[in-house]
Symmetry: C2
Subunit: 491 residues, 2 copies
């Protein structure tokens, strides 16, 4: 057996362990009785510990070294590079730093839950200080091994190939142009009527499942369940989407399910031949988010789909004026300056991300002290959106990302939005009847285009090549700005 | 760190892997979409393979060797013995035999599903031949290392401490005395009326959950779900019981849930201090079955509980004559000579087991050829129960155990039944109001007695000592025969 093949077997085992952990995580969120929490934590820690041992074993390094001298095709070579990068990251940090960081993020997450409930930033600050300190230390060590600046090392772990200059280039036009678009929309947007409930949970679920299936979700290879925080988990042949239902509201929950369905299509569309290998997994968080947002924002909030949805809602819940297509279009494109990122609309959302990007970059580089975070947050909100939180709960305490050490994650949300627009524009160029088909509830052309251009390529190409091959251009803001100008601009 | 403590850590990791596998197994049976089957098989194989590697590593042997010289208390010493036994079993077999057996049982199980459907024993025979051959080979190798005859090595793996002389001594009085009891019951038993459905699934489930909670199942540490084959799985702090519902029938499904609840109480009652260690796990299949049967057969089919259940059924489904206590008592103690073990009543069940014990012993010892199995089965049924199957589907093809290589398992069902009766008799001696409390739906005294006398002792004692400490006598048939004479004998 060649060293490369032995390495593939080793990675397959890591993938199986990861798949087991994914099911255990779904179980914990969706069905586990609360008393199972301690044992579940121990099971997941054992799986993580074993995976780390397998990855960092000296045999892994020896096999990588030997495989480099073997003849490999392009995918194998890409796979080997990805394996090597995983190995490099996993061995870059001393064990005591890994453990200290795990403890610190655990403690900080608990402190954050309490601090957010109490809107008490000072109680969080020392814990966040420790997480930030350990994150910087880890980013420095990993960055040294990978030839990256610390913040770049953080960005790269969530989206390989992503760097600060790219983000700066892309975010500048957004912060320049979105504020005027927002003001214009606020001044001119029609009032939309909210649908009146109750919307029985069973009917909401049935409709969600039907729409998921129409978009292309295969219920022989996945499920829809409930959890407090909706997510898409599981493994490519057994995808677990969760949502939560509010019997007084069905509009936003439904879009949430369709968003997760976009993530699911990506996972399901990854190449079968490369299952279990790094090159066969999804590319990174920006690409992943582009797949959920192309389904949610480009396809499902389009007038075409909302005209289709109008009939489906009326069939499911009985007709009412708020289900009229024109009203749904107004409702699903309603813009509002708000303080909370997760409630933000498509137009204001990027500015929430710009703020977080500025702040986390400054924190990681040591240009901003955590004592000054609340004030910097409030100033940034004022500058970007013209509003200010009255409490830190609605300000710098709202997100879990930093307390759990996920610095470098936020930009992916907006990069995903930009890419979704650029991909949809490219798909429309190649498939002129794309929206006409979506208006009949037929997602086949879009799904097949995404499968061929994104899903099946998995991690075989660098991010920029993947995007250029799919859209003919490097990632830019033009498609997104054209999209929002069309959807929210003067009619 | 002492070698013993290092060994405990190693076993804790194995336990965490086992716990992860238990949740994955539950998921597969209860909620997994069918398309997840291949990936799930790979995940479980990876967990099993890793556990085997950890257990059989030379470091395990070294730590066992060193720990033997360290000062240990009684539980630690028992734990060390159990660890050593696991190590011995795991290293007794060459890897190619382990793999050949896994392949053979897999193939044979599939062949059995088809053969049973077609009632076609000849199509199964060659596969069963291979499984039997590999089982005998493995039993011989393990037996050599453990100082046991091959069939004893098989018995011991399911119930440590169980041997052939014990079973012979216990089964003889059953085959001598049960036939007359059966004939008498058949001649004298009252006719019982079957409750008329439909029994809506949601109501069946609600009642089952209420009764489970009353018996002592803690829904903060467990769930009730559905699967084709009901079971009790999960881990001690997160117990997963499954059942299946038939809207035309509620009586037998309900007893099934109460049976699994008995298994669950055992797992939940294991000592917290020893969680994750062999000495802290359940003792073996005979002891485990005694815990389900003491709840189902001794407590829940007693006239006392059925009087209580009568009211609960009427409350849940609306009253009807069949829910009268006297009718329920007749219904739940109805005796019938049948061909199918899993449908058998308390009185005829042991004879089904006696037959299987005789046959599997002869098969493992080479005294019976698989060509002659169907005829031997039919002759045995004739001798023991006076009936004969018309097809092998109702005969030697009915059970999955042998096709999957579980020779040596069957006796535990009946030994569990004997022990349940003996434990209940002992509990009643010590707690004179035991049945009076059960008649009010109060299982606290029984549960606490079982916890103190069985659950909390886990695997710290040899089987016979555990039974003697709990009941004051070695395992016998007297309590069981007295119990069935009382329940089914002339009134």
């Amino acid at each position: 057996m060649s060293a490369y093949v032995a390495l593939e077997q080793r990675l397959k085992r890591l993938s199986d362990l990861g798949g087991a952990a994914a099911v255990l995580n779904w179980d914990q969120a969706a069905v586990m009785p609360k008393g199972g929490n301690t044992a579940r934590g121990e099971q997941l820690a054992a799986l993580g510990g074993i995976a780390h041992e397998i990855l960092t074993a000296t045999q892994t390094a020896e096999l990588i070294e030997q495989a480099r001298a073997e003849p490999l095709d392009a995918w194998q070579a890409a796979n080997l590079r990805l394996i090597e990068e995983r190995y490099t990251r996993a061995t870059a940090l001393p064990q005591d730093l890994v453990e200290a960081r795990a403890r610190a993020t655990n403690t900080c997450e608990m402190a954050w839950r309490q601090a957010r409930a109490d809107s008490d930033y000072p109680s969080l600050r020392p814990h966040l200080e420790e997480v930030l300190r350990l994150t910087r230390e880890a980013a420095m060590l990993e960055g040294e091994k990978l030839g990256l600046e610390p913040y770049a090392a953080l960005l790269d772990q969530f989206q390989p190939g992503l760097d600060e200059p790219t983000i700066d280039r892309l975010f500048q036009p957004l912060q320049d142009q979105l504020p005027a678009l927002i003001e214009n929309r606020l001044a001119t947007q029609p009032t939309a009527e909210k649908p009146k409930g109750p919307f029985p949970k069973a009917k909401q679920k049935a409709l969600a499942q039907e729409l998921m299936a129409e978009i292309g979700f295969d219920f022989d290879h996945g499920r829809l369940d409930e959890s407090t925080h909706p997510f898409c988990g599981g493994t490519p042949t057994d995808i677990r989407i969760t949502t939560r239902y509010d019997e007084n509201e069905t509009v936003s929950a439904l879009m949430g399910v369709l968003h997760e369905t976009g993530h699911a299509l990506y996972e399901a569309g990854l190449p079968e031949t490369w299952r279990g290998q790094p090159v066969g997994t999804s590319h990174g968080m920006a690409i992943h988010e582009s797949q959920s947002l192309i389904i949610e924002m480009q396809a499902c909030r389009s007038p075409a789909f909302l005209r289709y949805l109008s009939g489906r809602l009326a069939e499911t819940f009985g007709d009412q004026p708020a289900f009229a297509a024109e009203n749904l279009i107004d409702l699903y494109t309603h813009v509002e300056k708000g303080l909370i990122r997760v409630d933000a609309d498509e137009l204001t959302y990027p500015l929430h991300i710009v703020l977080r990007y500025r702040l986390e970059k400054a924190l990681v580089k040591g240009d901003l002290d955590l004592h000054d975070l609340p004030a910097a947050w409030d100033d940034g909100m004022q500058e970007l959106l013209g509003i200010q939180p009255e409490t830190d709960r609605e300000g710098c305490l709202q997100d879990i990302h930093w307390p759990v050490g996920a610095f470098g994650y936020f930009p992916n949300y907006t990069l995903g939005g930009l890419l979704a627009a650029q991909l949809f524009q490219a798909a429309e160029r190649q498939l002129p009847d794309l929206l006409a088909r979506i208006e009949t509830g037929d997602f086949t052309p879009l799904r097949e285009w995404l499968r061929a251009n994104i899903h099946e390529k998995a991690s075989s190409l660098p991010m920029q090549s993947l995007i250029e091959e799919a859209t003919g251009a490097e990632l830019g803001t033009e498609a997104f700005l054209a999209h929002v100008a069309g959807r929210y601009g003067p009619r």
